[in-house]
Symmetry: C2
Subunit: 440 residues, 2 copies
Amino acid sequence: MRLSRYFLPNLRETPKEAEIVSHRLMLRAGMIRQQSAGIYAWLPLGLRVLKKITAIIREEQERAGAQEILMPTIQSADLWRESGRYDAYGKEMLRIRDRHDREMLYGPTNEEMVTDIVRSFVRSYKDLPLNLYHIQWKFRDEIRPRFGTMRSREFLMKDAYSFDIDAAGARHSYNKMFVAYLRTFARMGLKAIPMQADTGPIGGDLSHEFIILASTGESEVFCHRDFLDFSVPPADTDFDNAEGLQALFDRWTALYAATSEKHDPATFDAISTGKQVSARGIEVGHIFYFGTKYSAPLKATVTGPDGQEHTLHMGSYGIGPSRLVAAIVEASHDDAGIVWPDAVAPFHVSLLNLKVGDQATDAASLRLEKALATRGFDVLYDDRDERPGAKFATADLIGSPWQVLVGPKSLAEGKVEVKRRATGERELLSVEDAVERIAS
Amino acid sequence: MRLSRYFLPNLRETPKEAEIVSHRLMLRAGMIRQQSAGIYAWLPLGLRVLKKITAIIREEQERAGAQEILMPTIQSADLWRESGRYDAYGKEMLRIRDRHDREMLYGPTNEEMVTDIVRSFVRSYKDLPLNLYHIQWKFRDEIRPRFGTMRSREFLMKDAYSFDIDAAGARHSYNKMFVAYLRTFARMGLKAIPMQADTGPIGGDLSHEFIILASTGESEVFCHRDFLDFSVPPADTDFDNAEGLQALFDRWTALYAATSEKHDPATFDAISTGKQVSARGIEVGHIFYFGTKYSAPLKATVTGPDGQEHTLHMGSYGIGPSRLVAAIVEASHDDAGIVWPDAVAPFHVSLLNLKVGDQATDAASLRLEKALATRGFDVLYDDRDERPGAKFATADLIGSPWQVLVGPKSLAEGKVEVKRRATGERELLSVEDAVERIAS
C-alpha cells in the first residue's frame, strides 16, 4: 500500500475527549473516528487490525469444533419475554418499535436467538455436541460511554454457544472453549490469565474471565507469578479428548488468580512473596456455563439414547474484537505510539523512502516493496514527499513491528536501515539481507 | 468438513411462506432461517456463500482503488437533518430513541456519514481522488417484507462512496466502479448487463443498474443480444487511465438495454429481430453520480490547486451481498436444487461415501477428502450412515459443482464416479484421475 494514496488521517493534537491511552493513540493514528457517543467508524488502519483479530479468533473457534453462523442484529422482543430477560435487562438494551409498532431490540447478546434456532432443528442427541458462534455487532446503551472502543455502545462480539445433552458434555464443551481462548490470546501476542468470575446478567454456575496484564488496565488483579511462564496448549491439541482437556483446565486453574471482586487476601498472602503478582488487568474474554437457564424456559430439548426428552445444557463464550484492539494498544505502546504484536499489526513493515524523487532511494524502495510483498508481508510504503522526521513520527505512531529506512547516505554504501519498533534496535543491511532479517 | 458433524438442517417439506424459488431452496438447503419478518439468520452453508461473495467484491473494489472502512449501523438523526433526508425518508427508515432520548436511526445507506468523515479530515485536492467502501448490515423497514433475502429488512450492503474535486474526476471514479462491477459479477459466474436507471431516494444525474437475466426475475428487461457475448475487462485493466475506462464504459452502454421503467419500445423495435432480447431480470448492483447533492449541504469542501474552496463531487455504488445470494439461486437452479457457480459455491465438492463402514469405501473417501483439500478445494464429506438416495438428494439440493460418489461396486474396479452438478454428466475414474478431473 502506498501511503500517498492511503486514507490515514493522523492527528497532530491529542484529542481532549480521550481519557485513556488506547483511545488517544487510536484516534491519533487514524484508526477510528467517533460518529456519535460511544459509536465509532473504523478507518482503514483500524479495520485491518480488527480483521486480523477476527481471523485468529475464527481459526481457533473452528479448531475447537465451533461452527460459524451469522445472526441478525435486530431481534424480536417476544423471544426475550420467553426467557424472562426482556424486562430484567434494563436501560442498556436498545429497544425499538418498527413501523407496525412491533417491539424489537438491538441484540446485546444472543442466548435466546441461538436457542431458538437450535430448538427448531435439533431433535436428537445424535446432533450433539453442537457449538455455534458468530461475529456480529451488538449494542449496549451505556449511560456514559467512554474509553473509545474499549467500552463502546456499538461493539463487535464473537459469541459462541454450546449445546450438550448433559452437564458432563457441557463441561467438555466449556473446556474446549477454555483452551481455544488460551490459544487465541497467545497468538495475538497476549498473556491472558483465566480468573474465576461473577456471571452477571448471563447467569450460571461456572464462569471465567480472561485477563491480560497492562499497567493502564481498568481493574486490579492478583495472581501467582508462575502463570506468566505457562506455555499454551499446542495447535494439535486433541479437542475430542475430554480427559485431556480437563487436565489442561485443572492445570490452568490450580494456581491463585482473581479479579478484585473475587479477591481473597488470605489465600493470596499464603503465596510466597516472590510469587505474588498484584497488577492491573483488562478483561478480554468471558466464558459461562449456565446449564438449562435458557433451554428450560425456551423448551429446547432433544431425545436421548434412552428415548426420553432431555433439556439442553448450554454455555456461552464471548470475545469482543473491537474492545480487544484497544486492549492490545493498552498493553503494547510507548511514548511515540503503538507497538503492534506481529500477528495483529495492520502492516508488518513501514517502508520509509527518505528522499522521494532520488533515483537510488526510489529504486531501492520499489525493490524492497516488491520483495517483501512476495514474501507475504503487508507493507505500507511511505512515498510521500515529506521530511524524514514526519515519516519517522508516522511510522512510530502507527506501530508497524518493522521499519525499513531507505536514505541516500546509507544507500551509497549499499545499505538500508532496519529498525525493530518494539526495541528500537537498528541494523544496517543490504536490501537482500533486510528482507531476510524481517522474514526470519 | 464432515457432514455428520456439520450443522446443515435441510428441510424435507417446502416451506409454505416462501413465494419464490430462491427463498424455498435457501430454506430447504439449510442456508438461512427467518428470525422475524424480513430478518434472517445465516446458517453455516449460507454464510459460506455470503463470504465467498464478499471476498470477490472486496478484491474488485480494491483493484479499482477503493479502500475499506467500516461505519457503524446506528447513526445520529442530526446528520440526516443536515442533508434534509431525515424527514424525507419516510417509514422505511428504522428510527430509534436511545436512553437519553436522542434521535438515532439504523442506517439504510451511508451518504451522510461518509461525507461527515471525509469533511472532517480531507482539506486539499492532493488527498483526492478518494473512494471509501464498507460492507455492513443495513435496515429498511419494508412494509411487507417478502422473497427471503432478496428483499429483507436487515440486509448486507457493500456501499462505496467516491470523492473528487470536479465532475470530470467524479466521472473517472464512476467509470472505475462501472468496470469493477462488470468484473465482480462475471467472477461470480453471472452475466450482468448495465442499464440506465432512475436514481430514486439517492438522487443524482447519472445512474446504472446491473441486471442479471433469470427466468424467475422480478422485472421485465429489454436488451441487445450482443451483450450476452461481451467479454468483461481483464484483471490488468489500468484503472488510472481515464480515457481507457471511458472507452470501456462507452462500449458497454452503446447498445440498447433498459428495464421496463426506462423502456422505449420504438428504439427496441429498431433492433433487428434476431438481436432483440426480452427477458426477466434481477437487479444486483446500482451505481450513482450525484455531484454535490450531499457535499453542498454538509459543506464538504477542499482547497483546489487554484487556492479556492471546491465542493466535492460524489458518487455512490451499491451491491447487496445478501440479496446476491438469492439472485444467484434464482439464476442457477433446477428441480433438484441449487446449482452453484464454482466461484461462490459453499463447497466445491460433495464427497459421497455410499457405504459408510465398508473398509474400501471409507479408505477411498478419506484419500479423496485429503487429496482434494490439499489442492485447495472445500469438500463436504457425506460420512453419514444414510442410504445412497438420501445422500444424492442432499448433494443435489445444496448444489456443490462437483459430486464424487464412492460406492463398493465401482470401487471393486478401482473407480469412483465424478458427477458435474450443472450438466449431470458422469464419469468413472480412478481416485487420482478424479482429483485431476476436478482440478482441471
